[in-house]
Subunit: 407 residues, 2 copies
């Protein structure tokens, strides 16, 4: 597997664009398009929130019933959630405008929105923006970056990843982009993520690969425990790599899943590390757990603990909060048997063993915790299962951003 | 029912004291004693965290097996959690010292600790403190207040409540104290709460009354979603009101439960409103829910949402976050049917109806949300069940307090 630069335009035949539609923000791009020159097999996973935004309902319809997909229209600023029938109508209208501009069927168009809940979209601006996006779309890396920038809300960085693998003697590319960075606690997929690939693969296998993979990638991150109404992760594959179509599990499928896993993991980590107000990516790796379920439950509980997150912000080796978060996770275990370690580029240190603190140096621990990426390793000493979850620290800026998000 | 001033010394025959033991803090009381002149029937509920602090293990033992209880020793500063066999030994030692000083059996002594996890107690200071507490104890209201002040950690106010009811022609008093204010998400009871009463009641009924009541009181509050390792709520009753002992359910039992419910509710609200860094008590009242379970799930999910809590801090009527938190709570409902209202001393306003925002005034909403106690009323329009949960806003100071708690 080769890691390359790029995002949604890295795979063959995919174009993208970003545009300043004036939806809500001023002086920045807030609309994006992804377009494939050929019809795509598509798969999607969506929020498990009972309150589903209108675009989620529209996209589920497309994934389930449309014969193919070929474009995605995204806007930032307004989430089109809690907007009733009027909001759903705007999804359809957006798809109609895009279909006309791109000469594709209306049901080949995905739509996605992110931003404030409860406001209606300014449909005239959206329509005008879609027409411009269609004119601007290009196959270049820059066009991919422009789209990745346009979908940002409180993100501080755009997020793109791409890799190449060989499948059946053909070079296959998988690339993606996503955005965070608040209301992030995906319970099916993430806020907004888009992955494109030129692989040729059957629709059922693509959906299975995606549904399985999000469990270990996007579903293992949390910024604030709030599962959004808009979570959407779409994968579009257009077959232009010309590999023999993957129609069953086996070596080719595994290679594609490996590439998809890399892209999803890196996008998920970028999202966690750029959580609202975050100064650090906070990783929790549970090893030697009894089973996978236990490992995942423990890892997620630790990265979700407000107290632990605040301690990470303070570079404070307050390991008791980690053990406490494990204790209320719902997983059963013997606290006396567990071992805890802190890890970062600055080193590794054991903190807890045999039910009590080790004789570690607070100074060294603080040094390790002062890096922009810190890891807690939890050794359960009970089995072979492993899981990793990613979050971020809890900071003044998280409060600042969210106390006054709408104004 | 008459509400009176006072706390753990309000009921007949209860004495208390507070003392500056120098456990960890400087220039403040950090040790407290509650003592009953007569042996007590006792009940307790404790943390459901798998990682249980040593005093929790000790107290469970006393509740389950001791013939009676007569005293409680509390220290603040060090939690005696994750301290292994050594920590449990210190509980026993504390009880021994208290038993000797008070001339009661060792197993009539409860111990409770709150503060930093992972440190060992300075046993010499604890022992010396217990001896002093025994000398200082008094029946006065001031003595109760002294104890309530001594158990504080990051609390900004001491917390006491007391009421009187008539049972079988006798005046019965129920009083209590508690402390918060971080790592508060009780899943069995609260951080530390102590209720005393002179009622005469059978042990099984007392435990049942307590276990049932915490479900609607202490288990309905959250400051930060972190269920502590030390959560303990004890009720001691010494029978000195001389009512005919309550040995079965009926009018007398109901009257006592009403008094207990008032004390527990008010203590729980005090704890939520004085959550770490909080500027407001944030109440969520779910009405007309399908069933009690749904009402409780929804109410708790709203008061636990970091995004909603931050919006309350900003006096921002960001109702979409409330609906979002209801949506990911796990409860099933039709979002289009729900109605939302904001309430406070400054007025009431409807915010959401028929799936969309009402035409409310942002200015008026902000005015309502600027009070120190704000309520969200969620009308499910689906049945008769009701539940209320209490939390607080999420502020800069929460982060500040917890990024640097140990130093």
């Amino acid at each position: 597997m080769e890691i390359i630069t790029g995002g949604v335009t890295a795979a063959k035949g995919f174009e993208a664009s970003g545009y300043e539609g004036g939806i809500k923000y001023k002086n920045r791009k807030d609309m994006a398009m992804i377009y494939s020159q050929k019809p795509c097999v598509a798969a999607g996973v969506f929020t498990s929130n009972v309150v589903k935004a209108a675009p989620v309902l529209w996209d589920k319809e497309v994934v389930d019933n449309a014969p193919f997909a070929q474009a995605v229209i995204v806007n930032a600023g307004i989430a089109n959630a809690c907007t009733g029938k009027e909001g759903y109508g705007y999804c359809k209208e957006t798809a109609e405008v895009a279909a006309k501009a791109l000469h594709i069927p209306e049901h080949a168009v995905f739509v996605a929105s992110t931003g404030v809940i409860g406001m209606q979209l300014p449909m005239d601006k959206i329509s005008a923006g879609v027409v411009e996006l269609a004119k601007l779309k290009k196959e270049t890396m820059e066009a991919g970056t422009s789209a990745a920038e346009a979908i940002m809300t409180t993100d501080t960085k755009s997020k793109q990843v791409a890799v190449q693998v060989m499948i059946g003697g053909k070079k296959v590319t998988v690339g993606g982009m996503c955005k965070g960075s608040g209301m992030i606690h995906p319970n099916m997929c993430t806020m907004l993520g888009f992955v494109t690939s030129d692989v040729a693969i059957a629709k059922e296998l693509l959906q299975e690969a995606l549904s399985e993979n999000v469990k270990d990638t996007f579903n293992m991150i949390s910024v604030d425990g709030d599962t959004s109404t808009n979570d959407t992760l779409l994968v579009l594959t257009n077959g232009m790599a010309e590999n023999t179509q993957i129609t069953q599990k086996g070596a080719d499928y595994d290679t594609f899943v490996e590439a998809l896993n890399y892209v999803n993991t890196e996008l998920a980590k970028k999202m966690a590390g750029d959580g609202e107000g975050a100064t650090a990516l906070f990783e929790t790796k549970v090893i030697h757990a009894k089973d996978k379920e236990q490992a995942k439950t423990l890892a997620k509980s630790v990265i979700c603990s407000s107290l632990t997150k605040a301690a990470i912000f303070g570079h404070d080796a307050n390991w008791g909060r980690i053990l406490c978060a494990m204790g209320y996770s719902g997983a059963m275990f013997d606290p006396e048997q567990v071992e805890l370690f802190f890890q970062s580029k600055a080193g590794e240190i054991q903190i807890y063993k045999d039910g009590v603190a080790t004789d570690y140096s607070e100074e060294e621990a603080t040094k390790i915790l002062s890096e922009p990426e810190v890891t807690v390793v939890v050794d359960m000493k009970a089995g072979d299962a492993t899981a990793t979850a990613w979050g971020c620290d809890l900071t003044y800026d998280y409060v600042k951003i969210n106390a006054d998000y709408r104004s």
